[in-house]
Symmetry: C2
């Protein structure tokens, strides 16, 4: 497997965690989102990923030859299907819907609003200043995580991790989002459930090795 990734991209980070949890080996191909006008926007990269976003996963070992996969959550589901152990989705349809719901509340309702291209539009097109840009970031991140804290705190299925006592797709999404939230100095003091789960994840090698600072393309 070959993963086109940027060390700080939280969508790439999700896939790195899942590959590590499943013990699948992969090579990182760094895509620098800031240098050279954004390598993700190059014509070469766009032949793989017309959205011009990371990550892209190349699977060289399919029955039909090389396959190109985009969208982090579609990639996580694919990894789960081709390599089901250890399972990152629970056994019942209802519990899978719970885990997917958490993953999607991060991937649809928090992360896209704080993506690099969106922050750039705010600054360059809407002439928003630094402080209003940061307030935007924190607004969506804090309000989204606050809703998630309520969801997880009141559900009896929440355990050491978002669902039970082993990591799922939900944790693959939560950890990169908390990492981003801390980097942008969001207020996480009233999110004890999320922070407890985050800390539990940080004790696992799969999460540690997927972290931005441990990537080949990491920068200070």
């Amino acid at each position: 497997m070959k993963l086109y990734s940027y060390f700080r991209s939280s969508a790439s980070y999700r896939v790195r965690i899942a590959l590590n949890l499943k013990g699948m080996s992969y090579d990182i191909v760094p895509v620098h989102l800031l240098k050279h006008g954004g390598e993700q926007l190059s014509q070469m990269y766009r032949t793989l990923n017309s959205d011009g976003l990371v990550p892209t996963l190349i699977d060289n070992e399919t029955a039909d030859g090389q396959a190109v996969l985009t969208q982090s959550l579609a990639i996580l589901e694919y990894l789960e299907e081709v390599n089901p152990t250890p399972a990152l989705l629970p056994a019942t349809a209802l519990d899978r819907a719970f885990v997917r719901g958490i993953a999607l509340s991060i991937a649809c309702d928090i992360h896209p609003l704080n993506n690099l291209r969106v922050l750039r539009y705010l600054v360059h097109e809407l002439k928003v200043d630094e402080s209003a840009k940061n307030a935007w970031y924190r607004h969506w991140c804090e309000s989204g995580l606050a809703a998630l804290e309520i969801t997880l705190a009141r559900d009896s299925r929440t355990g050491k991790f978002c669902f039970g006592d082993t990591p799922t797709l939900a944790d693959c999404c939560l950890v990169p989002q908390i990492f981003n939230a801390q980097r942008l100095k969001c207020n996480l003091t009233e999110m004890p459930t999320l922070m407890r789960i985050y800390q539990n994840c940080q004790e696992l090698d799969a999460f540690i090795q997927a972290a931005p600072q441990n990537q080949p393309d990491a920068e200070a």
Copy 2:
């Protein structure tokens, strides 16, 4: 089944299409996103859906009694699992990843940026005027759909619908997005593949009956 829905919400629209395609009966509970300060933000609704977003699906017929499901794509996957025929996902892992990738490129990279709460933040917090707000809407919608046009036009799996000749989760997401794009007067002239698929969908009862204008809470 009971679906908390708003006629014009494209996330609700996705679920209505899928329920119709699968021939599952359901009652609509209208949630008015604009009246009464936004019914989706009421304390009562938030006990079901802490995100304060539509849709929410209530399944009264599970083995464990009543289940509450949120996040439209998690609901679509749930419906597929509990009622697999007709299938809205293809047979192989790679093809499922393709369909999910299309659905997610709409659900993560287009729709969240143009959601009501985001447009409100632009106007109320960032003091963006009507014309800049509409330019924002069209920017994300047109650039996202243009990338999707390339993805679908170049992939041999695209048929009468996004994948092959029967509707999938991808079409459940595409149709509401095109509906929104037309409503906000986006330029869709260079998207022949998307528009062809859209028209094919519009010939099916499942899509017609799910359309905003055919909902019990529809307004002029």
